[in-house]
């Protein structure tokens, strides 16, 4: 019996009311709730633009869009199917690595040095897997375990020197700048799709192994897998340069410098700021101001361009998710979530459905991971940590409203906004506390350092608050009475 909806008592109570079977009934919540919540969120972003700066607001907006997609992916797994995926970070990182592999130009010299060896290693791995699969299907019992063991050990012994030499050769090629095999040199937007595919592939393997497990085990297993994915990306320098990072990835949008030299862009900026420019009487000063506006404007334009691309992806995925949720497939998913045993007894293939939804959700997270790396223009495996990339996404889903797609999107925005703004808020509070303190005391200096973890505190508090007092989130799931 797994009751995945967060408050059981209310659920049980509502189950008793006599409602027509399968009728989808809106809860008492006002139909204006979602538009109002999004409008409030928009106002908060606008306020940020006015009181802090437009650049900050746009930066938050872009990461909010990415976060919203991640939350949607997790919502698919948790909200629809009750799968506790604590490995969001791993899929995000896979998406990011895919962005490097797709968009970075190939490093020919490195490929020349170690390409053969890597290809051979790949063949050996394939051979091992094929042999093990064959043994697993053709033999039985202790003999089978023994044969598998021997195959793996022999394969490992064969693989180690070949692979080691290849990696050494690749990493020796101009280590300060490359030292890795590079990528395919394709447009980076392609990696958004590819990132999803890679994440889906890994999710398939993980799902095959771990999805038969109960909730807590799945959580622990996925947490472990994500740690391993990230440590592979950190340490296999030949693949994506590890902690040396890959920077300067190609962009899907124009560069600021290019924009600033485009006459049409100068024209656009002049028109937007016409009023302000007209107020300046001195011609030289006006020229300076215009140049300033162009520089500023180019930054904003790039961010807005990203926002446009991301919004398109978000809307496409949202439409797909909403359709999926309201399809017979989505209804079956929720039926399984609400009563797994009954669903299994009715002949539903629970494990298969779980695998499907796990793959889909992970693919969406992978897409978001590739988008995030695109936005950053760099891949930095050292920065992936589970608090930020797994559990923060969980807070988004719970606070937004698990089981509700719009809720997940809203949660992505609200929580990312809070996460970013909590640090300056913490700094502000510290400033108020320490205003009258002697800056040379150790306590004063110590207090300056604690603004950063303040956001962890806020996140924990928000999560616990919602879990207790509004467990269905800001936009609750539409409850289906049956």
């Amino acid at each position: 019996m797994t009751d995945t909806t967060v408050d059981t008592a209310e659920q049980a109570a509502s189950a008793d009311t006599d409602k027509p079977v399968h009728a989808i009934v809106e809860r008492k919540a006002s139909p204006w709730r979602a538009p109002l919540a999004f409008a409030a969120m928009g106002l908060a972003l606008i306020a940020t633009g006015v009181f802090q700066s437009p650049a900050v607001a746009l930066t938050i907006l872009n990461m909010s869009l990415v976060s919203a997609i991640m939350a949607m992916g997790l919502n698919l797994q948790w909200g629809y199917a009750g799968l506790f995926n604590a490995g969001v970070m791993g899929f995000t990182a896979l998406g990011g690595a895919t962005a490097v592999v797709i968009s970075h130009p190939p490093v020919m010299e490195a490929l020349g040095a170690g390409g053969r060896g890597l290809a051979l290693s790949f063949l050996i791995v394939v051979a091992i897997i094929a042999t093990v699969t064959f043994i697993a299907s053709a033999t039985r019992g202790r003999f089978r375990s023994f044969l598998i063991f021997v195959t793996v050990v022999a394969g490992y012994i064969a693989l180690r020197p070949v692979f080691g030499a290849a990696v050494g050769a690749v990493e020796a090629v101009d280590p300060a700048r490359t030292g890795f095999i590079g990528g395919l040199g394709l447009p980076i937007t392609l990696s958004w799709v590819a990132g999803g595919v890679v994440a889906a592939g890994v999710a398939w393997i993980i799902g095959k192994v771990a999805l038969g497990l109960r909730t807590d085990y799945l959580a622990i297993a996925t947490l472990g897998i994500s740690e391993i994915v990230v440590s592979v990306l950190k340490n296999e320098d030949w693949l994506v340069r590890g902690v040396k990072n890959v920077t300067g990835l190609p962009r899907p949008v124009p560069y600021e410098i290019e924009l600033q030299q485009q006459p049409w862009f100068a024209d656009l900026v002049e028109r937007v700021h016409a009023g302000q420019l007209a107020a300046i009487t001195d011609a030289a000063a006006r020229e300076d101001a215009l140049r300033q506006f162009i520089v500023e404007g180019s930054g904003h334009f790039v961010k807005i361009a990203y926002a446009g691309l991301f919004t398109v992806v978000l809307l496409i995925l949202l439409a797909l998710c909403v359709r999926a949720l309201n399809s017979p497939w989505g209804r079956m998913m929720r039926a399984i979530r609400d009563n797994e045993e009954a669903a299994a007894a009715m002949g539903k293939d629970v494990t298969r459905r779980h695998l499907q939804v796990f793959i889909l959700g992970s693919a969406i997270i992978g897409i978001a991971g590739a988008m995030m790396t695109t936005l950053d223009g760099q891949f930095t495996p050292g920065t992936y940590n589970p608090l930020r990339f797994t559990f923060l996404i969980w807070v988004m889903v719970i606070v937004g409203g698990s089981g509700n797609n719009l809720g997940a999107v809203l949660g992505g925005f609200v929580i990312w906004f809070t996460w970013v703004q909590a640090e300056p808020a913490g700094a502000f509070i510290i400033e108020q506390i320490t205003r009258d303190m002697d800056p040379s005391t150790p306590l004063y200096q110590h207090l300056q350092d604690i603004a950063a973890p303040f956001r962890l505190f806020v996140m924990g508090f928000v999560l616990l608050l919602f879990l207790r007092f509004s467990p269905k989130g800001i936009l609750p799931e539409k409850v289906r009475h049956s």
Partner: protein, 341 residues
């Protein structure tokens, strides 16, 4: 054929780099896993905040240690932290009980699904990790003092005339001794005392325990006190042995869960055995056997590579592989623990 000296050298090498570190690390994991398994057995959820509870307890140990040192109180040859352990456990226990009263108790009373408690523990994890960082910052800190070594490598070499040295740090010896004392005390408590038996009964069959008049609130209270004590001891020993860094404590969750599940979750003896198995696997899989083999094979057979199964950076993979293999082959673990529902 290697002669006797070579064999002795090889053995000393293994003791120094594998046996001693793994024994100390295993003791730390065992204590951590005991805490997780007890909370699971009584409260029936996987507590994701346990790593950060360990960090919190260690923070208290460090603060009190500093206080003692400032007063000029030290423990002579052993680290001052040992004295600080008792008051730190009290503070951590109070914190754990407060957390239970304000967070977990609410869901327990409503008989919420275990997964809700897991999510709540994620919230607690966030807040605890923030509090720890408020107090300690995010850097590495060492807080050990007193005599650093029981045996130094050089002394050992001079004493025995072998090429290989054996170094045993005070903290390593202390870790093992404290772990043995703690585990023994806990087992006597669970096996012999009325309250300990009541805890086992409650973990075994909650409804029947209630019908026997066992007070659930008291069982939960004692569980948190013990969990806090175990977390503080495990965290302090780990910090003494290596160093204190908040994020590392979060990462310990994985080997700790692996140990608890391997032993059979809810089974205290399993947690201890699991802790040592995970620690030894981790150290043995990531140790480079080149020198060890060089001692044992004829000179011209000496290996060229490091003879390392996995890079040290992949030690998490070891815990994880153990976890997956256990879950696939025998989900109840070695000692037939509960299957998490």
């Amino acid at each position: 054929m290697p002669d006797a000296t070579d064999i002795l050298n090889a053995l000393v090498l293994m003791t120094n780099f594998v046996f001693v570190p793994a024994l100390a690390y295993g003791s730390q994991l065992a204590l951590g896993a005991l805490g997780v398994t007890l909370v699971f057995g009584i409260l029936r959820f996987a507590n994701f905040a346990h790593g950060d509870l360990m960090a919190f307890g260690t923070t208290m140990v460090i603060l009190i240690t500093w206080g003692l040192q400032a007063q000029g109180i030290t423990a002579g040859p052993v680290p001052t932290a040992l004295i600080a352990l008792v008051p730190a456990i009290l503070v951590t226990a109070v914190a754990a009980i407060l957390i239970d009263r304000s967070v977990f108790g609410f869901y327990r009373k409503r008989r919420a699904a275990p997964v809700v408690l897991v999510i709540a523990s994620v919230g607690v994890m966030f807040m605890l990790s923030a509090i720890v960082r408020f107090i300690m910052g995010t850097d590495d800190r060492r807080f050990t003092d007193g005599e650093r070594f029981i045996i130094r490598a050089r002394e050992f070499r001079e004493m025995t005339g072998l090429d290989e040295g054996l170094a045993i740090q005070t903290t390593q010896a202390l870790t093992v001794i404290v772990a043995i004392v703690t585990v023994t005390a806990l087992f006597i408590f669970l096996r012999r005392s009325r309250t300990g038996k009541a805890m086992r009964a409650y973990s075994d069959n909650e409804d029947l325990a209630l019908l026997s008049g066992i007070n659930p609130d008291r069982v939960v209270l004692i569980t948190w006190i013990i969990a806090a004590a175990l977390a503080t001891i495990a965290g302090a020993l780990y910090g003494l042995d290596k160093s204190f860094k908040p994020f590392t404590y979060f990462q310990l969750l994985l080997p700790i869960f692996a140990a608890a599940i391997l032993g059979g979750i809810g089974q205290p003896i399993g947690a201890v055995v699991g802790g040592y198995i995970v620690a030894f696997s981790e150290v043995m899989m990531t140790y480079a056997y080149k020198r060890f083999v060089t001692y044992l094979v004829p000179e011209n057979w000496a290996p060229e590579g490091l003879l390392q199964f996995l890079g040290t950076d992949y030690k998490f993979a070891v815990s994880f592989i153990i976890l997956v293999v256990v879950l696939l082959i025998r989900p109840t673990g070695i000692f037939r623990g509960a299957v998490i529902k």
